[in-house]
């Protein structure tokens, strides 16, 4: 166990953690406050002017002060689209992890506590799920989805579909983590103590065992958010993710990709930079959390 005070102390004494935390905080604030901070609203077609397309960053010859990081092929400011796009990427990442978490924690808890055939069934299901690549499932489902519905419907529901697909495809990671913690916890005497007073299994699972399995869940959540954002970016890059008029970081990278060789590198470069920073910050924080919560690596100072 680690107290909140010890946790903050550990955080403040680790430069990597502070660095990753600050980067993540800036990116999240940037995304949340995009409607107030962004110089333009890239969703508002009235503000767009095709004459402004492919402008270089403002400090380059031909740059415009209104567009700090230049503009893309449709005349949207790259800075503004990044701010909105980061938000969409984060929503998909966090949303997908919430879906994964709810599914995975529930199924993992049931599998671990019930044991027997329930456990065997759920874990084989997880094995099958894991043997199919997330990207492959997503490509098939999204391809069918985009072929079935017209472009407008697709644009409206793409974000939910992405959350759902990435969420459902990755639940086994949470289920396995939770199950193995439950197996460790369920034979402890505090669980017996709860059974002695006749507490029903449902209450024992949710009120006693679950809180003691959440630490590893927190650690993998952080890394899974990064993973989900990556998956979404990959799908968008393949043209199966977010549509061009509501771009995520992945669709931004894709939309600029074809202009790299014509010299407009900034359309791809800046979103890619932000994506890398975001993923790196999340992964570093995840690793740091894992070390903090791992009693074997704990130093004697907290």
């Amino acid at each position: 166990m680690i107290s909140l005070k010890g946790f903050i102390k550990r955080f403040l004494s680790d430069p990597v953690a502070i660095g990753a935390g600050v980067v993540l905080l800036i990116l999240v604030l940037m995304a949340v406050l995009a409607p107030f901070l962004a110089p333009q609203n890239p969703y508002d077609l009235m503000q767009l002017d095709i004459m402004n397309s492919e402008m270089p960053p403002s400090w380059k010859p031909g740059g415009d002060d209104r567009f700090l990081l230049g503009t893309d092929a449709q005349g949207r400011g790259v800075l503004s689209t990044i701010m909105y796009g980061t938000g969409i990427s984060l929503i998909i990442g966090i949303g997908a992890v919430i879906v994964q978490g709810i599914l995975g924690v529930t199924l993992g808890l049931i599998a671990g506590y019930r044991g027997g055939w329930v456990d065997a069934f759920l874990m084989r299901l997880a094995d099958i799920q894991m043997s199919l690549s997330t990207l492959m499932i997503a490509i098939i489902v999204l391809a069918i989805f985009s072929a079935t519905f017209d472009a407008n419907t697709y644009a409206d529901y793409a974000i939910f579909m992405l959350i759902l697909i990435i969420g459902v495809a990755e639940w086994p990671k949470f289920a396995r983590t939770v199950r193995s913690s439950v197996l460790g916890e369920r034979n402890k005497e505090y669980v017996d103590a709860a059974r002695v007073i006749g507490l029903p299994p449902r209450k024992i699972m949710w009120k006693h065992i679950l809180p003691n399995t959440l630490t590893p869940v927190l650690v993998i959540s952080t890394i899974q958010v990064a993973e989900a954002i990556m998956t979404e970016a990959a799908l968008s890059f393949l043209g199966l993710g977010m549509p061009v008029d509501r771009p995520s970081l992945g669709s931004l990278i894709r939309s600029g990709f074809e202009f790299i060789f014509s010299g407009s590198w900034w359309i791809t470069f800046y979103p890619a930079l932000v994506l890398v920073a975001l993923i790196l910050a999340l992964n570093l924080l995840g690793d740091w959390l894992r070390d903090v919560f791992n009693p074997k690596l704990r130093r004697g100072d907290d």
């Binding site: 166990m1 005497e189 505090y190 017996d192 059974r195 002695v196 007073i197 006749g198 507490l199 003691n212």
Partner: protein
């Protein structure tokens, strides 16, 4: 004789061992074999034996953590082993348990108040919140815990303090009967005396009945009213503590007493042959102790001795005891 507070009639616990699902033979571990004990109100009934003798399984069967494969368990004359949860609920108030490892028996994420309030809230849901608080404070005071501990988490306490909290939790529903499974063996020597004294005090103050499970005979001698010596799932000898320690009748009891290291010294001077437990899955037909017994004869290997009363009041499962 009064009605025993707890009585077991021929209880057995068998665990099927994991095998390949195609394998023909289904090996079974007999953790408890036809155990009959009757615990009288107000006494400290001790169960001693070495690991694998079934003493913990017996405690768990009585408290309801391990349903028996066969046999009957009674509490104050009522059969409890097949009761449904709703009927059993009021009885659960009267039966509580203290566990061996105070580092595992308290939920690490719950503070002391939550841990102590839970049995009251679940078993006596009509209790008003103010009364819950009052009971918790009362019980903490009785077990030598500071009232300021209530908002703290288990990791802030030492082993001895945690065991006090665990005892307090067992007391909040004002039970009549407590199963204590090796409550002091995880504690340091100087703390063991504190916990034993606390249990003695609580017994005289609250009129508790204990089922005290231990491997340590010197604790039994000090603490027990009656004692059952178990070996491989069976009771070998059952007697009043004084009777057992003054005149142990079963060869296994004698071996156990002989194995206690004594402050006077001298009892380890003669070498001892390695004694091995027989495989509990494929038990030999005769007396389970025969392979280790110096007195064993052909009869012991063929015929299992039943518990029978002796003239000194003890009950012993040995062909030769008298």
């Amino acid at each position: 004789m009064t009605t025993p507070i707890v009585e077991t009639k021929g209880i057995e616990v068998r665990f099927p061992l994991p095998t390949h699902f195609l394998s023909r033979d289904k090996p079974v571990l007999h953790a408890l074999n036809t155990v009959d004990i009757a615990i009288q109100p107000g006494e400290t009934f001790c169960v001693v034996g070495e690991s694998g003798c079934g003493k913990t399984t017996l405690g768990r069967a009585i408290i309801g953590l391990q349903p028996p494969t066969a046999g009957e368990i009674y509490f104050n004359g009522q059969r409890i082993d097949q009761m449904d949860e709703a009927t059993r609920k009021p009885i659960r108030r009267d039966m509580q348990m203290v566990f061996q490892n105070p580092y595992a028996s308290l939920n690490p994420r719950r503070n002391v108040f939550e841990t102590l309030a839970e049995p009251i809230r679940h078993l006596m849901p009509e209790t008003p919140a103010s009364e819950v608080r009052e009971t918790v404070e009362n019980v903490l005071a009785v077990t030598g815990c500071d009232p300021s501990w209530q908002r703290k988490l288990p990791h802030e306490f030492s082993g001895g303090q945690r065991q006090r909290i665990a005892i307090a939790r067992a007391l909040v529903t004002n039970p009549a009967f407590i199963v204590a499974d090796e409550p002091i063996s995880a504690l340091d020597v100087s703390i063991q005396a504190q916990i034993l004294n606390l249990m003695t005090d609580l017994q005289s103050k609250w009129g508790l009945t204990y089922l005290f499970i231990t491997h340590d005979l010197s604790v039994v001698e000090h603490f027990g009213t009656r004692v059952a010596v178990m070996y491989l799932g069976r009771v070998m000898e059952l007697a009043k503590t004084e009777t057992l320690f003054d005149a142990p009748k079963h060869p296994y009891t004698q071996l156990l007493l002989d194995a206690i290291p004594k402050l006077e010294g001298g009892s380890f001077d003669t070498p001892r042959e390695p004694g091995e437990l027989p495989d509990p899955v494929n038990m030999p037909p005769g007396c389970p102790f025969a392979p280790r017994c110096a007195m064993a004869e052909a009869r012991c290997r063929a015929e299992r001795p039943e518990l029978r009363p002796l003239s000194n009041g003890a009950r012993v499962a040995c062909h030769f005891a008298e």
